[in-house]
Symmetry: C2
Subunit: 363 residues, 2 copies
């Protein structure tokens, strides 16, 4: 089975090589190539029908079908429909499917340095991340990091600054975090543990019940729109901001390298433009939906929308720097991406200070 598959690949490669060689001389070959259709599968880490994200992926697939006049069709499967959500990266890597959508920190166990391409605590927001990825060398570095896995990444979507989460008690000082059981994954969770908290791993589907039954004391999720949709305002009273742990999570399109290489140039350009367009579109839709949901939450009588105390944020920031430095000391690959990220981030912060930052601070 495997043997005949390799033969098929070899035969196909020879055919492609032959096509490429003939291309300049022959209109017929070009016509054959441009009428060839590709029927791809795409898996995501999102629940079926998940607003903004799963919907955005479906819009992306529809757009590609229209732009390519049906030459590239992508059948989209939500998490669990074809494979479990968190196997998305492996499925794309192994060529089981051609495309995936999720976020790079989901593969932190396998590729710890990938986290810098989604979001790190106290890191850059969407604006800085896009500038780094598209124009500051970030995307090239990301592609290098994924290359051993035969995966080609594209930024596609951003959560914006998330909320800090729902708490069943007030957080007035770092003491209030001690022993607190909070659903907070990834690097945010590590920092939270360093602060004395007790980070709990829970799938999204379990979050509401756990908080409502006091199995956990707190949870972060996304922003006002998705949080309200999950009903978290019925399970806890104190809604904290800002989301220091995820200030602008980049979502990713992943494409299997061999599948990518098999596409003619026009379809490659269609995919890459559609991904960039959707990168902006998902972010904009997320912002708009969060604005509207925030207004609704403010009208609810039983919740309090509160700012984390400044000294709590300052302490969490120090612990974040420690956490990142420790990870870097233990892992040269992590260190390399961390340093590239930090170098860009310093420039980004200096510019933000006198642009977006200074502007938004006008009373």
């Amino acid at each position: 089975m495997k043997h005949s598959f390799i033969l098929l690949i070899t035969a196909f490669s020879l055919f492609v090589t032959a096509c490429n060689e003939e291309q300049s001389g022959s209109r017929t070959v070009q016509a054959v190539e441009s009428s060839k259709t590709y029927n791809w599968k795409m898996v995501t880490t999102w629940p079926p029908g998940f607003p903004v994200l799963q919907e955005g992926v479906e819009r992306f697939a529809d757009n590609i079908k229209i732009m390519s006049n049906g030459r590239l069709t992508i059948k989209v499967y939500a998490g669990g429909e074809l494979i479990p959500a968190l196997q998305t990266f492996d499925a794309v890597s192994q060529g089981m499917v051609e495309m995936g959508h999720g976020s790079a920190y989901y593969w932190a166990g396998k590729v710890p340095e990938a986290q810098f391409f989604s979001s790190v605590p106290f890191g850059m927001t969407a604006r800085g991340m896009n500038a780094w990825l598209y124009d500051g060398g970030g995307l090239e570095l990301w592609r290098e990091v994924y290359k051993p896995f035969h995966v080609m990444p594209f930024p596609m979507g951003n959560s914006g600054v998330q909320m800090g989460g729902w708490f069943n008690k007030e957080i007035n000082s770092l003491d209030d975090i001690k022993g607190l059981k909070m659903r907070i994954p990834g690097l945010g969770g590590k920092v939270f543990a360093k602060a004395g908290g007790n980070p709990i791993l829970l799938a999204g589907s379990e979050v509401y019940t756990a908080l409502e039954r006091n199995t956990i004391d707190a949870t972060e999720w996304l922003g006002p729109f998705h949080d309200q949709r999950l009903g978290l305002h019925r399970a806890a009273k104190h809604y904290y901001y800002p989301g220091w742990h995820e200030p602008g999570t980049v979502l990713e399109l992943t494409v299997n390298q061999r599948a990518w290489d098999s596409l003619p140039k026009d379809l490659q350009a269609i995919v890459s433009n559609a991904a960039m367009a959707e990168n902006l579109r998902m972010f904009s839709e997320m912002e708009q939906k969060n604005m509207a949901a925030l207004q609704q939450l403010k009208d609810r009588p039983n919740i309090q929308i509160q700012h984390f105390p400044d000294d709590v944020l300052a302490k969490l920031k120090t612990l974040t720097d420690q956490t990142l430095a420790e990870e870097a000391a233990n892992n040269p690959k992590f260190k390399r991406v961390y340093e590239a990220y930090q170098a860009f981030r310093l420039q980004n912060d200096a510019w933000s200070d006198i642009s977006e930052n200074a502007y938004l601070a006008i009373e």
Copy 2:
């Protein structure tokens, strides 16, 4: 001449109608349509080779050529190469060219309410503008506003928060603005006049010499990257932020309505995705280049990068509210867009306060 043109258009429309009617039944017609090529012209408001903006427009045209496999080619002309820069809108409106690129406030004389689709003083930044345009009804409104001119707009690029400008003296209070001759166009200029300043209209090409020779006392331009490139740091010493007058100017792609309608659905989708992708890309590139240029400017010994005094900004903001209210009182069309903009902006501000704003304010 005009009569035969109309006959031609009518004949063409009949042909298109016939094609559409036959389409479902006939593969041949579809093949003819999908092999038809479109050779379009596009004019811009930017100088030849203008970094980020003119370059971005050229990248957009290249992308479309690749994605469409050469079926839609767009020849791009910089400002003045085919027509004067500020006739871009009219040229697209009259169908002299199929596409244009610029910014909506350039047509304020003809369509005052168009200014809300580029930038207004103390208005929304790029993030809020995109959320409004794509998901808050802004783009639909913009299309309504341009409809009588047979022009179809798309957001395509953003300047980010601009700098406040270069001044040959310190601005310590509103008194320092009295009588000050500053190159500052549009609504920003009107507000500046209300504050006692003397707004001067100057083309970009004249700005440096006028400032260097003290014909003007101050000028705004864009951000660190373009400002430094124009040499403004050699003509004045005080570089002020933030750019209250243009906090995130949206750039626009304009397409002649009839040309747009003539495109098959796949090419329409290609144009619209390419524009959305370029919207993000130009903004990201602008940010990255501004960061790098700011670092260079900081290393120059003779300039001071300074924050406008808070009370000056507060006063300018009050005068902006007055200016917009006056324009709205005199012009129902302006009023309609102003109210839609303001309604969205209130939601946007409330959300920013607890997300981007609160996050960026962490010390």
